[in-house]
């Protein structure tokens, strides 16, 4: 029952450029559905999807939920705090219980890297990684790619710099894999204490100064700086971070050309990004949110269904549309 993407979407690293292109192309017609009077198609009628969120998340969960509902799936949200996980149930038991309830798909967000794969290896349902630890957040990477492609018309040859806390960012990893597979050139910029030591091995350029990054890039993907990085000793203060690495209008104007600005949210205005940049004419931050629903619909559609055993049964009745 594995479609063009396989059973699960765990990350962009295992996908080919063609598979990523298929998801982006499939997302295009899904954009239109959200513009209709009745924002719903019957595609996943009867499918049961569990949104299993072990970490608090508003925007990703809501985006998935809209995507699922617009495809007419039945959805259940399970938040870690409201489930038996808080009573110390292991992830493997959670997986087995979900399996026993005969669900079709699981969208999982978890604080541990590899948790989505762990689940995927233990249940037959399709698993979609909605963020696992500091590993990957593939649907965020895909919506970033879609937003960039919408704007520039192509990804091949595009220069994108990911700015900020790459070390702890699953968004950064999914972006690096997705962009490089689609032929874009990727750089990272941030304090070295927030970049993985071996980052060059992932095929990216490193800029130590945000001015260099702005001078080079066509687009900046500005990562959220988690406030706890300060207490953990990675950076001295948010004030200094903003002064040295903040994406400000002055810095962008000095580049003398327009850069597209992306941010996965939620933003810390005045820390990694200044408000006049976030709200400025080259910010596509809200386009990213809109595209998020379309990309997730595309992923749900491509992973779902396709049960050959039912096709066999339907053959006699001439099940095909034409």
């Amino acid at each position: 029952m594995s479609g063009p993407l396989g059973k699960d979407l765990l990350g962009l690293e295992p996908l080919s450029g063609d598979q990523i292109r298929l998801i982006l192309d499939t997302a295009e017609p899904f954009k239109e559905i959200s513009e209709r009077a009745i924002k719903k198609v019957p595609t996943l009628r009867g499918a049961t999807i569990v949104n299993l969120f072990f970490e608090a998340s508003t925007r990703t969960r809501v985006s998935f939920e809209f995507a699922e509902k617009r495809l007419s799936a039945d959805t259940v949200n399970v938040a870690a705090s409201g489930s038996s996980v808080s009573k110390g149930e292991t992830l493997v038991d959670t997986a087995r219980n979900l399996e026993a309830m005969r669900i079709d798909m699981v969208v999982v967000r978890h604080g541990a890297s590899g948790a989505a794969q762990f689940l995927a290896e233990r249940i037959e349902s399709n698993v979609i990684n909605a963020g696992d630890g500091t590993h990957e957040h593939p649907t965020q990477g895909l919506l970033d790619l879609l937003t960039l492609r919408d704007h520039f018309g192509k990804l091949d040859g595009l220069k994108v710099c990911i700015c900020g806390d790459v070390l702890h960012s699953r968004v950064a990893r999914s972006n690096i894999w997705g962009l490089t597979k689609m032929g874009a050139r990727v750089a990272v910029c941030g304090p070295r204490s927030l970049l993985p030591n071996a980052i060059d091995g992932m095929g990216v350029t490193v800029f130590d100064h945000i001015e260099e990054a702005i001078g080079w890039a066509d687009a900046l993907n500005v990562l959220r700086l988690q406030l706890e990085r300060m207490t953990a000793g990675y950076i001295p203060s948010l004030r200094e971070y903003n002064r040295v690495f903040g994406v400000s209008r002055e810095r962008l104007e000095r580049a003398g050309r327009d850069l597209l600005i992306l941010h996965p949210g939620p933003m810390n205005r005045g820390v990694e990004i200044d408000s006049d940049v976030a709200d400025g004419p080259f910010s596509v931050i809200l386009d990213q949110v809109t595209n998020g629903v379309a990309v997730r619909m595309a992923v749900l559609y491509l992973l779902s269904g396709g049960r050959p055993e039912l096709a066999e049964a339907a053959k006699g009745g001439g099940g095909a549309a034409r």
């Binding site: 198609v41 396709g306 099940g319 034409r322």
Partner: protein, 183 residues
Amino acid sequence: MPDTALTVLDARSLQRTLRRMADEIVELNNGTDDLLIVGIQRRGVQLAARIVSMIAERENATVPQGALDITLYRDDLQTVGPRPVVGPTDIPTDIDGKHVVIVDDVLYTGRTVRAALDELADFGRPRRIALAVLIDRGGRELPIHADIVGRTVSVPPGSRIDVLIGEMDGRDAVVQVTPGTPA
């Protein structure tokens, strides 16, 4: 034995048939007011475009044209293997109160038209929906009939109808293909 192809319509008769269908659409609608012609992806869209330009020639009126991709409304999505490619759906105007004519190349089981009716209903409430098809080959599985038919063909079991459109296939023709037996 190789495949045998029987020509149902050649390029000229296809064009002639479409012209008649265009006339019938205008006649059925009593003019071109509130008319919206919607083609079903993919060849229905091409046929709809030709019909719209024929109406423009004869009636000197621009009729709005839309496109429907019914993939997401198919009733067999749970059973088909790899996910079918989804094409664009484009309904350019508000369809409330409109006279919508759905255009498709071949009418067979009726399931595609069922899906198209469901999809159109999600865009609004047209005053009337009519169906125009180039070929009606019989074999309905749903209570659906076409208002305007280009040609009715009786297709023997095992054979199929291929509609070829210049824009996509390089030439205009409708052929009935009977697959040969492997040598």
